[in-house]
């Protein structure tokens, strides 16, 4: 972490931290613009941009047509002009109409023009399930993003990281897809959907500096040190898996990847070589999920240190069901089963 300005700390949830990051950047850099469906006067369907239009004005923070191709496409043009756009896609499930602008344009502009033009854009978008969003408000498309050459993919898991990572993303001169795990906007999730939700205020990472600070992209965080196995997680699943390993008294080392691309391979390698076992966990569908990449990297680099096959805990290869959401979600039972399997030898 680097902090330019000494500022007071405030208790924030994820939404407030994300809002604060944009507020700080709108204040510091007159080229930053925030736009998206319902983000202006209303402040966003999840309230992430609440108050920003009133404070920074309508040409800096504004609503857009319901047209994701247009949102990302105009952001590319704004970047070419010299702005630093921060478009919001209301749900990650809606990003697909804008995917060509992201894959073929934003991601390749620097490369194809040999630095004539760049695309310093940060696409913010809520993703993941656990809010009864059905198959169009629950998806986790992170492995689609990491498969694009030229886009960085960032996923925070707590308010402190969310603000520092979002500021670093906005200041980055390459396009960043900033995936916000919406299940934990208001509090860390234990994985037990039938238990009351803890507010962020009880979590140490809710103490967020009010001013500017950055968390470097591409650096993982060790959430819990341990010897029995390494768990590679990000977003909501960081909290779910932490709850379960602590309940089961498993001495797991949990690595919160925070940035999927570029990936902190050194942190992964050091931990797996230490523990000799690796569990990869994500909510996204299993086949060709980011866990497949992680499992491949771990076996390429740590094979002779492994004492058990790399285990994957993921969502199923089905659309995200509405009523059976919690049967789909990689929750306590699926995690416990995987832990038993990986630790038995």
């Amino acid at each position: 972490m680097s902090t330019d300005t000494q500022t007071a700390t405030k208790t924030m949830n994820m939404i407030e931290a994300i809002n604060s990051a944009m507020d700080v950047m709108l204040e510091r850099d007159s080229n930053v613009v925030v736009m998206g469906e319902d983000v202006g006067y209303f402040g966003g369907v999840f309230r992430a941009t609440a108050g920003l239009q009133k404070k920074h004005g309508k040409t800096r923070v504004f609503d857009t047509p319901i047209n994701e191709c247009g949102i990302i496409g105009v952001a590319v043009g704004m970047g070419a002009y010299g702005l630093r756009p921060v478009p919001e896609i209301q749900f990650a499930d809606y990003i697909y109409p804008g995917l060509d602008q992201l894959v073929s344009e934003a991601a390749r502009l620097r490369y194809r023009s040999a630095n004539d033009y760049i695309c310093p854009m940060t696409v913010r978008t809520p993703f993941g399930g656990g809010i009864f969003g059905g198959q169009t408000h629950s998806q986790s498309p992170e492995s689609i993003m990491t498969h694009i050459c030229g886009v960085k993919t960032v996923i925070p898991s707590n308010p402190y990281d969310a603000k520092g990572l979002l500021i670093a993303a906005i200041e980055d001169n390459d396009p960043v897809v900033f995936l916000e795990p919406k299940r934990i906007y208001n509090g860390p999730f234990s994985g037990y959907y039938d238990r009351p939700v803890e507010p962020w205020s009880k979590h140490p990472a809710s103490a967020v500096p009010e001013g500017h600070y950055r968390i470097e992209l591409g650096k993982a965080a060790t959430v819990r040190e341990g010897e029995a196995l390494t768990v590679l997680a990000y977003g909501t699943m960081v909290h779910v898996v932490k709850t379960i390993v602590e309940e089961l008294k498993v001495d797991a080392e949990i690595i919160d990847l925070r940035t999927l691309l570029p990936l902190d391979i050194d942190a992964i390698e050091a931990s797996v070589k230490k523990t000799g076992r690796c569990l990869v966990i994500h909510e996204a569908t299993r086949t060709s999920g980011f866990g497949a990449e992680l499992a491949a990297l771990v076996q390429e680099r740590c094979f002779y240190h492994l004492e058990a096959p790399v285990e994957r805990v993921t969502g199923f290869d089905t659309p995200y069901p509405h009523s059976l959401e919690w049967a789909y979600f990689p929750g306590p039972v699926r995690i416990a089963t995987a832990l038993t399997k990986i630790l038995k030898d």
Binding site: T59, N67, G73, V74, G77, E105, P262
Partner: protein
């Protein structure tokens, strides 16, 4: 039971599916006699501040300035000086000479691909000349005329086409996908119509900063069917963006005639009507009409009166690209039957009518430009041609994916350099 096996369940007449079909195929004799050609002075020129709904007729008519006898007439006549007209003619002739030479270079195996704009030179050259030099152009792939009209060095275009040592894009892009920021020319994508919303974003940025520069963008009638086109027009009308949309309706998208973009039902300029923006349908083979329409739209945008959609009604005289054979899907002589002639011939005729040009000067200029292109080509070829040696250091393949190279690309780069050494030995250098 599958839907396809169902029989009509009532005595209603059966529905029928319409598949568009061009009027003429190889072997047919094309006749465009039914294309409406309004008189040159038939179209009034409204003020640049006119509300779109008060000028809808212009989406269905045809703005013309030059008649077929070489006279400039009517309210749209931009009244350019002879000097300016000669410059315009020179640029268009240079584009044609360049196209002919580069097409031949591809046929000689010196590069992989080329695209000519024969017959459409006015749609980019005259259009660019009506803009301010600082205005930003978002081209599609057939707007080499923008670069020529902004005096971009020919050798740089050729170096890009050859992907040689002088190519500042490091051989990464297909030929003709130029990028020239100092000349207000955006990087050409190759994916169709993606530049449309980007131009709107650039224009929105310019407006939000209180700048005075406007954006202008081109696509073909075929790619006006892309979602990006409609996204762009929606954003442009919502934010009243200072942008000019050019649809170069050259009748053909590879082998698909304009009917597959909706051209059987209405004009492409009429797309503007539904979005509530100004639309102009113009004779795209009339350089003065192109200039006048662009000047009108630029004035409109620059005075915060919003975007304009210009349909350049023209004809693609040659194949889509070097990979295309138009004689397989349209009559070979269709171009010569096109009722609006050739833009270079028409401007030449106009200058000659004015007594400002003659056949001898024309032939001398043609020879001079062909010689210029040929000389430049020789210089460019000294820097290499495609497929004859590898001209870039291999590690450039990994540069500029990101601003800073992440570890995984560094690893892959190391692997590739090892492959290079295994194949070419340790002393290999770019050729």
């Amino acid at each position: 039971m599958p839907e396809t096996d169902r029989r009509p369940a009532s005595n209603l007449p059966p529905l029928s599916l319409h598949i568009p079909e061009p009027r003429y195929r190889p072997g047919d004799t094309p006749d465009f006699g039914d294309i409406a050609v309004p008189a040159v002075d038939a179209t009034p020129r409204p003020s640049e501040a006119t509300k779109p709904d008060a000028m809808r007729d212009l989406c269905y008519g045809l703005v013309r300035v030059l008649d077929f006898d070489g006279q400039a007439k009517g309210q749209w006549d931009p009244k350019l000086s002879p000097e300016r007209l000669r410059t315009m003619l020179r640029y268009m002739m240079l584009v044609r000479a360049f196209d002919d030479r580069m097409f031949r270079a591809q046929r000689q195996g010196k590069t992989s691909f080329y695209m000519k704009c024969t017959g459409e030179e006015a749609t980019s050259v005259a259009s660019t000349m009506a803009l301010d030099r600082a205005d930003m152009c978002f081209p599609s792939y057939r707007q080499q005329g923008i670069l020529i009209a902004r005096d971009y060095p020919l050798i740089q275009m050729m170096n890009q086409i050859y992907s040689n040592r002088g190519d500042h894009l490091l051989g990464r892009q297909l030929p003709i996908m130029y990028s020239a920021p100092a000349h207000g020319f955006f990087s050409v994508s190759g994916n169709l119509a993606t530049q449309y919303p980007q131009a709107v974003g650039w224009a929105m940025a310019s407006a939000s900063k209180g700048d005075s520069r406007i954006a202008t963008v081109w696509c073909g009638e075929g790619s006006s069917a892309e979602g990006d086109f409609h996204s762009a027009l929606t954003f442009a009308t919502v934010y009243n963006a200072p942008v000019i949309f050019n649809v170069v309706n050259n009748q053909w998208a590879i082998s698909s005639f304009s009917g597959f973009a909706g051209g059987e039902r209405t004009t492409f300029a009429a797309r503007a009507v539904g979005y509530g923006i100004a639309g102009l349908r113009i004779d795209g083979n009339d350089p003065l009409a192109v200039y006048a329409a662009t000047q009108w739209a630029a004035d409109r945008a620059r005075t915060n009166n919003g975007p304009t959609l210009i349909e350049h009604f023209t004809y693609r005289s040659e194949g889509h690209s070097t990979s295309d054979d138009p004689s397989a899907y349209r009559p070979a002589d269709e171009a010569s039957a096109w009722p609006f002639g050739d833009p270079i011939a028409r401007l030449r005729q106009h200058l000659e009518t004015l007594g400002e040009w003659d056949g001898a000067r024309h032939e001398a200029q043609r020879a001079e430009l062909e010689d210029l292109v040929k000389t430049t080509q020789k210089q460019s070829e000294k820097l290499g041609i495609l497929g004859h040696g590898m001209h870039q250091p291999f590690e450039t393949m990994f540069q500029d994916v990101f601003e800073d190279m992440p570890w995984h690309l560094k690893e892959q780069c190391t692997q590739m350099l090892a492959e290079q050494e295994a194949k070419f030995g340790p002393d290999w250098k770019p050729e």
